[in-house]
């Protein structure tokens, strides 16, 4: 800041600056007054246009709206291919708009842009005719303008940049000046200007110094990171993150690049290289899993492709694979494995047991995935086995880490027959839930038996009305109702 003082003073005291800065301001001022007048005139004028009836096409878009018109023209092109003479889209043009005569414009409010015909200051006309000399490295200031450009303070330079006027950064030779410029840009909060200054600093400072200064300037640093990301300058960015000690960010950023690699072998190799990056402990595990997964998917894919094409296994003939397993999530891979590789020994990569162990799949997830796959294949025996546990006396019992009501839902989704469904409905502990599930999936036996066990004659009579006459269910209810052994509670 200390070095900025003399510049500031010079700026405020020198008359030549005043001349056109104040011109600019005057210009804004008159523009504002004009605008008020203009605004007032708009109020009266716009009526006739707004009353026009809007034409709407089927898709609801007003005919003549911009996106509609673009589509019209575009579809013309697509259908006619290389047709040269494209006719103008046929649009029912409404009565032409009244030309608005107001001299008001939004951009002129703040840009200080000169209106044609009005008195233009020197700098104004310069910036007007060389609009494209906007980006810092693009402009080659002509020597005759040099004095005007070279004496601006950081503050004034930033202001001019914001206003889209001509400026020069080359005159900021000293580090202190450059940093003042950067601070000024940051103060203005205009990302565009901040980036422009950063590009200039990147070119004119060594990395070490630039990085060191950026560390103390959080906002500028973030813009710099964003800029490097946008430009795809990853090497530079990695160096920056390293010098900042932000190693996790660096690791994640490098990991992100795998998304751009299409070839699975190259992607796998890339992920392998990622393993050595300094991720957080948690993320490191996930990246390792990601790599292991892809590695195995590649092996499984190659193997299954071969088996499928040489018709070695029935399962692939019966249920041809719809898509490759590459890059699928682990749960999808497990499903695939339960579908095509069920029963393989834990030693093979493609076996469900191996996948379960390697990727530490929770019991719930494993069961749900397995169930889904086996039910899809209508392998009810496998389904049964999933829940069957033997105790030390050799009795079997059905257990599940998930409520049996969920199991029933999944089985039903896979079109399990009533016989299978009711077995699991019966395992639902809560009676009310059991009844409602049984009703939902028409497991008559379960309902009838439950009512019988509840000794609820009334409910049973009620249910009789709901089943078809002369159906087995109907007969069963009749028999129960006639059974004199049962002590009904009502």
């Amino acid at each position: 800041m200390i070095r900025g003082k003399p510049d500031d003073d010079e700026y405020w005291n020198s008359s030549k600056f005043k001349a056109f800065t104040f011109d600019d301001e005057d210009d804004d001022f008159t523009r504002l007054k004009e605008s008020k007048r203009a605004v007032n005139s708009i109020l009266v004028e716009d009526e006739d246009e707004e009353d026009e009836v809007e034409k709407v096409n089927w898709s609801g878009e007003p005919v003549g709206s911009i996106s509609w018109s673009v589509k019209e023209t575009a579809s013309n092109i697509r259908s006619t291919g290389e047709v040269r003479d494209l006719s103008f889209p046929k649009i029912d043009t409404a009565p032409s708009l009244p030309k608005n005569s107001s001299g008001y414009s939004l951009s002129s409010l703040f840009k200080g842009k000169a209106k044609t015909g009005s008195l233009q200051s020197f700098s104004e006309s310069f910036s007007e005719q060389s609009l494209r000399n906007y980006a810092p490295e693009l402009r080659k200031p002509k020597s005759e303008y040099k004095d005007y450009i070279s004496d601006w303070t950081p503050e004034e330079t930033v202001k001019r940049m914001q206003q889209g006027k001509a400026y020069s950064l080359e005159k900021f030779h000293f580090l202190q000046d450059k940093l003042l410029l950067l601070d000024e840009a940051v103060n203005a909060h205009d990302g565009n200007v901040i980036t422009a200054v950063l590009i200039f600093l990147k070119k004119s400072l060594s990395k070490e110094i630039l990085f060191r200064e950026l560390i103390a300037r959080e906002i500028a640093l973030r813009h710099y990171i964003h800029y490097l990301k946008e430009m795809g300058e990853h090497k530079h960015l990695v160096e920056l993150f390293k010098s900042l000690g932000r190693t996790e960010d660096m690791a994640l950023m490098q990991y992100r690049d795998h998304l751009n690699i299409k070839d699975e072998n190259r992607r796998r190799d890339f992920l392998k290289n990622c393993l050595s990056l300094p991720f957080s402990q948690e993320d490191a595990t996930h990246v390792l899993d990601h790599y292991t997964l892809l590695e195995r998917q590649i092996i499984i894919e190659a193997n299954d492709k071969h088996v499928e094409s040489s018709s070695q296994a029935d399962i692939f003939k019966k249920y041809p694979r719809k898509a490759s397993i590459l890059n699928m999530p682990i749960i999808t891979t497990l499903y695939y494995s339960c579908f095509y590789h069920y029963g393989e020994s834990e030693g093979t990569y493609s076996s469900p047991a191996n996948i379960r162990k390697t990727f530490r799949i929770s019991d719930k997830q494993f069961l749900l995935t397995c169930l889904g796959a086996r039910a899809k294949l209508k392998a009810w025996f496998d389904v049964d086995a999933l829940f069957t546990t033997k105790n030390w006396l050799g009795y079997t019992k059905k257990r599940s880490p998930i409520g049996f009501h969920r199991i029933v839902d999944i089985l039903h989704k896979n079109n399990a027959p009533v016989q299978v469904l009711q077995e699991y409905v019966n395992l639902v502990e809560d009676t009310e839930q059991k009844i409602s599930l049984a009703q939902k999936y028409k497991c008559h036996d379960v309902i009838i038996n439950t009512y019988r066990d509840l000794k609820d004659r009334q409910l049973l009579i009620g249910y009789r009305e709901k089943v078809e006459r002369s159906s087995p269910e109907y007969r069963k209810i009749e028999e129960l109702l006639c059974n004199s052994q049962i002590r009904w509670k009502n």
Partner: protein, 601 residues
């Protein structure tokens, strides 16, 4: 087309006219016939400003969508690119220009950057060797677009991500600029209130810009009495909740883009057939514009969806009664009068038919079990039930591979309502999500963590319950049909952001200092000097007008809540709403995902 903009408390058509004027000026700068090549994203926002007829008047003869390769043939003098300042678009433009140059066609190229030109983009054009081919490189400052009679939007999708994830404050700069434009048109806003880091920045920039323009004070009587700037990150909860107003639900289910919604055509087919007997059933989605220009829509859009059915049937009765009138029309004069009203009545009828169809579509969803279950869990979280445990419903949803965004919305909500999840719960969700949806979503999860949406608990103290109680964020027995509190928009939950606005108006923020301190960022009040003679003399009982600016997005339900406050008999304040973008939980989370298109499910 835009008449409805003039009917509100503040005539926003002035702003629209100013923007149109600007567009005309730019077009006239490129003399002769022209073709516009559109960045497709921009056609929506521009549609809110101008029709094709305006462009045509200024010699725009052709319009194309920006695409790689050769430009389509067009016999025009000027080719103008209307683009956002995006690097990838620059590469496409360069391709276009280079291939056109080869053909030696003597055409002038121009670029119009919307909303701002960018040095980065120009540098890219230079690298591609085409910068010199452009006669004009200009910018079209489209900061605040009038969206409806009380609503302004910057339509800047990335604003939240830029501000809170990438710490890029450019959109805040645009916001401040936009507010300066507003003040130039509607007078200096005497009072500025704010809460949050970004709000503070915007206010600082406004004050600074005002100093820079000192002397050029607008001599306009202030239309706004105060401005309230709110950071989205002081209220992360509200957008995560499912909106339950009519408009909010349309947005949740079908997504409203630039004021339009696309609907499945089946429900609208029958109607159409009457007119064009026997035509094929439409397969294209039905596109509808939604704004207050449609009387019925203005009436029902902010209602809780459970109140929409009644309103529609009441309207149906009125319309059919009006049609019945024809039997009473006996004299020529009466018949004439009836006939003169017919167009209006027919419009009302078709509007009613449309909204009945939409309501039916929505109802199919709101009455589904899945919707109910989801809502139940949301409400449990918002009332603070079991937010510190793994939620069984979320677990089930993951197991069923429901859309990832739905999962992220729910998990984030649980995290926000618990002031961060317990480490064990956090790790569990993360693992389940990565295993089910793919490890690459690690990047998205990290983004959510950085923005504070889904994070592990850092302090043991959860202050959400205190905030909820103090601000009365949960109201039992919210009245959905005849609401008496803003909580009706989420059937019980009163959006935190809107409560802050409400308390500010009465009794003032001093009463909730403690809670304000629990929310991130500073809260502040600034005054702007008015030129002498412009002080408003308020009439007895005259309402104040407050502009509420949501930095980082606002939902339709929040807007409905503010409109509700505006309409309260003894409210005393009317609200105009401005935002960087209209959002819902889905579009919001999506904006924070890394490569959402790479999503496998």
């Amino acid at each position: 087309m835009s008449a409805h903009l003039s009917y509100g408390r503040v005539n926003l058509n002035i702003l629209r006219e100013a923007a149109r004027k600007d567009l005309r000026e730019f077009l006239d700068k490129c003399a002769g016939s022209k073709a516009i090549v559109w960045d497709e994203y921009l056609t929506g926002p521009f549609g809110l400003i101008a029709q094709y007829s305006l462009l045509k008047e200024h010699e725009v003869e052709k319009m194309f969508t920006l695409k790689g390769g050769r430009l389509p043939t067009a016999d025009v003098k000027n080719i103008i690119f209307f683009v956002r300042p995006k690097l990838e678009l620059m590469d496409i433009i360069a391709e276009n220009v280079i291939s056109a140059d080869k053909m030696h066609s003597p055409r002038d190229f121009h670029i119009l950057f919307v909303p701002r030109r960018s040095m980065l983009c120009e540098q890219r054009l230079k690298e591609q060797g085409v910068l010199g081919s452009f006669i004009n490189i200009d910018e079209y400052i489209l900061d605040l677009i009038p969206y409806d009679s009380d609503l302004l939007s910057m339509e800047s999708e990335g604003a939240f991500r830029e501000c809170y994830l990438e710490s890029d404050q450019t959109s805040l700069y645009h916001t401040a600029k936009g507010l300066m434009t507003l003040q130039a048109l509607y007078g200096t806003i005497p009072q500025i209130f704010g809460k949050g880091e970004c709000a503070r920045h915007v206010a600082n920039m406004m004050l600074r810009m005002k100093r820079e323009f000192a002397g050029s004070q607008t001599q306009i009587l202030p239309v706004f009495d105060s401005l309230l700037l709110l950071d989205r990150n002081i209220d992360l909860l509200t957008p995560l909740a499912t909106q339950l107003t009519y408009e909010g639900l349309i947005d949740e289910v079908y997504g409203i883009t630039n004021g339009y919604v696309k609907l499945p055509p089946e429900k609208f087919a029958a109607q159409k057939k009457q007119g064009e007997a026997g035509k094929d059933l439409p397969t294209e989605p039905k596109k509808m514009q939604l704004n207050s220009a449609e009387e019925l829509y203005a009436e029902i859009r902010d209602k809780n969806f459970n109140g929409v059915g009644a309103a529609l049937s009441k309207k149906a009765k009125i319309i059919s009664a009006a049609f019945e009138e024809r039997h009473n029309a006996k004299t020529v004069g009466e018949i004439k009068q009836f006939v003169s009203q017919l167009p209006h009545m027919q419009a009302a009828r078709s509007s009613l038919a449309n909204h009945t169809s939409i309501a039916e579509l929505i109802k199919d969803i709101t009455t589904s079990e899945a919707f109910f279950d989801n809502l139940t869990v949301e409400q449990e979280f918002m009332t603070g039930v079991d937010t510190d445990k793994v939620n069984a419903y979320i677990e089930d949803c993951i197991a069923q591979r429901d859309p990832l965004i739905k999962i992220l919305r729910l998990v984030s909500m649980q995290s926000v309502c618990n002031n961060g999840l317990k480490q064990k719960v956090f790790d569990y969700y993360r693992r389940e999500i990565l295993q089910t949806y793919g490890y690459e979503h690690m990047l998205t999860l990290n983004n959510l963590e950085k923005t504070g949406l889904l994070k592990p608990q850092t302090s043991t103290r959860n202050n959400y319950p205190t905030i909820r109680k103090t601000l009365k964020l949960w109201m039992e027995d919210a009245n959905e049909q005849n609401p008496n509190d803003i909580s009706y928009v989420y059937s019980g939950y009163a959006p935190l952001s809107i409560r802050l606005a409400q308390v500010l108006a009465r009794p003032g923020w001093r009463s909730i200092e403690e809670v304000l301190k629990m929310l991130p960022g500073p809260h502040f009040e600034e005054r702007q000097q008015l030129p002498a003679g412009l002080h408003k003399k308020r009439q007895q009982g005259e309402n104040r007008t407050t502009l509420v600016f949501f930095l980082g997005g606002v939902t339709y339900a929040e807007i409905a809540a503010l409109r509700f406050l505006s309409q309260m008999e003894d409210g005393g304040t009317e609200y105009i709403i401005a935002t960087t973008k209209l959002i819902n939980g889905t579009s919001w989370i999506k904006s924070l995902m890394d490569r959402p298109e790479a999503q496998t499910l």
